[in-house]
Amino acid sequence: MSIEPFNRLVKLTARAFYDDITTKGDNQPKTSRSDNRGIAVVVLDALTRRQWVREEDLAKDLKLHSKQLRRTLRFFEEEKLVTRDHRRETAKGAKIFSAAVAATADGHHTKEGEEKIKLHTHSYCCLDYAQIYDVVRYRLHRMKKKLKDELEDKNTVQEYICPNCGKRYTALDALRLISMEDEYFHCESCNGELVAESDKLAAQEGGDGDDNARRRRREKLKDMLQKMEVQLKPLMDQLNRVKDLPVPEFGSLQAWEARASAAARSNGDSNGNDPSKSSQGLGYGGTPMPFLGDTKVEVAFSGAEGNGENIKSETENTSLKVLPPWMIKQGMNLTQEQRGEVKQEAKMDGSSAAVEFSDDKKSTIESDDQKNIQDEYVKAYYAALLKKQQELEEAAKKQEELSNPNISNGLSGMSSGRQVGMKSKRDEDEGDDDVDWEEAPVAGNSNEHYKVDLNVEADAEADAVAEDDDDVDWEEG
């Protein structure tokens, strides 16, 4: 189950149709301050990186007022892009959700501590991919049809003119106009043979001002249709691409939570040496994402993960040509592309530099799982080691001319042995070994870079569209 093409579809849709949408209360004046165009796109983008999410959390992550977010979400609910669920729950009930979220991030249980018996209504929302696919297709179909119909005069009532006395009739008068003698319509007043108006138009090209207006209108319509074809082509292409893919399905909120917590349990038991699992624990730099699908069958988990939004759910990161990380072993001779197409990403990174993104702050997850602490410790150790090694290398470089070959050699020799291990480890984890070394996700180091830059985003979008390259991941906060 690959979610990436669908996310791309959502993003293209957002930019094609919802770029200019403002959602505001009726009583608010139209000031530039309250102009929130573009919010819709931001919200949709954020949702592509989540599954079910509590709306309060989303608002916090996006630094939006929850009312504003709710208005936007309500709008999208009406547009059938988003499913929402509301329920009254205790503080504990809310915790279950948090636990589900946390569990999918690293397989921990959060402590279910104090609970209050106060009921609050919480709203959750989630993208409805299956419906989005249908809605977008239907929308395009209607747009095209409307223009074409107008162009072909499809739904217009035929008019008839009497060439003798100039009296006009419409097709609605047809019943009164048929004559018994022949197969034509006849004028009621002079019995002249009526002529269909379009025929007359075609006959006398040029015509009067009315005709000109009509021709201009036709040209305009044709123009619009053409523009639509061109401008929405990326969207239509994406629809075609997605056509035969299985649609990501999260189910209802309850079902999703149940699955997530079940997965959390199995994660806790069988954490083992499976790198794909330990990699989950590593994703501290990014957003801990709720669990998607069944971990056990998840195979196509790839290095594409490191592409700036470190963690989405693991299944999102399936990219076809990339070797799955569990296949990448120490000492294998792989190209960057095989490891996770770092090059293409780097290309994108130019425009989407602000991508270091982690708009969830849930990265501080306390663990009572012994295994995990160990893992994290090891990671921290490696990261520290790596940093040190880099420092040393730099120092060594400086000293190279001054020369003390023995020491530097010894150092690099020792540390390079380490580095191989480190590198493969990191490949498994992130597939991101060229880009941002320094930001290696050390356990406990919650990167809270959160940058929303709409311009940058627009650029990224433009680039992505221009290249029309499926594999390029241009997503960002």
């Binding site: 499809k154 009532v157 097709a171 609605l172 047809a174 019943l175 048929i178 197969e183 034509y184």
Partner: protein
């Protein structure tokens, strides 16, 4: 589109109908008067399905006729713009063709017939595709879309199109 609605009507009854069959007489007269009529607002009354109630009669001065307010349920048929209907072709000519869907008459002008169908005159005027595979003539059954209605107080006339997806001949009597 069909609707099942409740309507009301004042029935004037001649005194000779009074007696123990009064109620039956009112109902049968109502059916005779109402079924098959057309009102612009509700469309064609197809059938009366039940009597809700019959109010107190009011004797008219001078005539002896009595007016009963009658509430009745009935099925009505009201065509709408955009509605898809199946209809039987009744007449074909150079300007297009006429068809009937129950009580409703529909005219489809030739520019709303697909461009690949051409008019053929003769004994049995028809519209035919160039390969002859599809033919519209009298008694053909077509599926059409209503694009306009003319609603008078007592009459509804429609114009339709078959120039769209899934519209056109659905059953050809010639081949059947």
């Amino acid at each position: 589109m069909f609707f099942h609605i409740v309507m009301e009507r004042n029935m004037q009854l001649h005194p000779r109908h009074f007696g123990r069959n009064l109620r039956e007489n009112i109902v049968s007269k109502l059916m005779k008067d109402v079924e098959g009529t057309c009102s612009g607002r509700h469309g064609f009354v197809v059938a009366i399905t039940g009597i809700e109630n019959i109010g107190k009669g009011l004797i008219r001065d001078g005539t002896g006729f009595v007016t009963f307010p009658v509430k009745y349920q009935c099925v009505v048929f009201r065509p709408f713009k955009g509605e898809i209907l199946e209809a039987v072709v009744t007449m074909v000519n150079k300007m297009g063709f006429f068809a009937e869907a129950g009580p409703v008459q529909i005219f489809v002008s030739n520019h709303l017939i697909p461009d690949d169908m051409e008019f053929q005159s003769g004994d049995m005027p028809n519209y035919t595709t160039s390969d002859g595979s599809v033919k519209i003539q009298k008694d053909s059954e077509v599926r059409l879309k209503i694009i306009g209605t003319r609603v008078d107080a007592t009459e509804i006339f429609c114009i339709g199109t078959i120039k769209d997806d899934f519209l056109g001949v659905i059953n050809d009597p010639a081949t059947a």
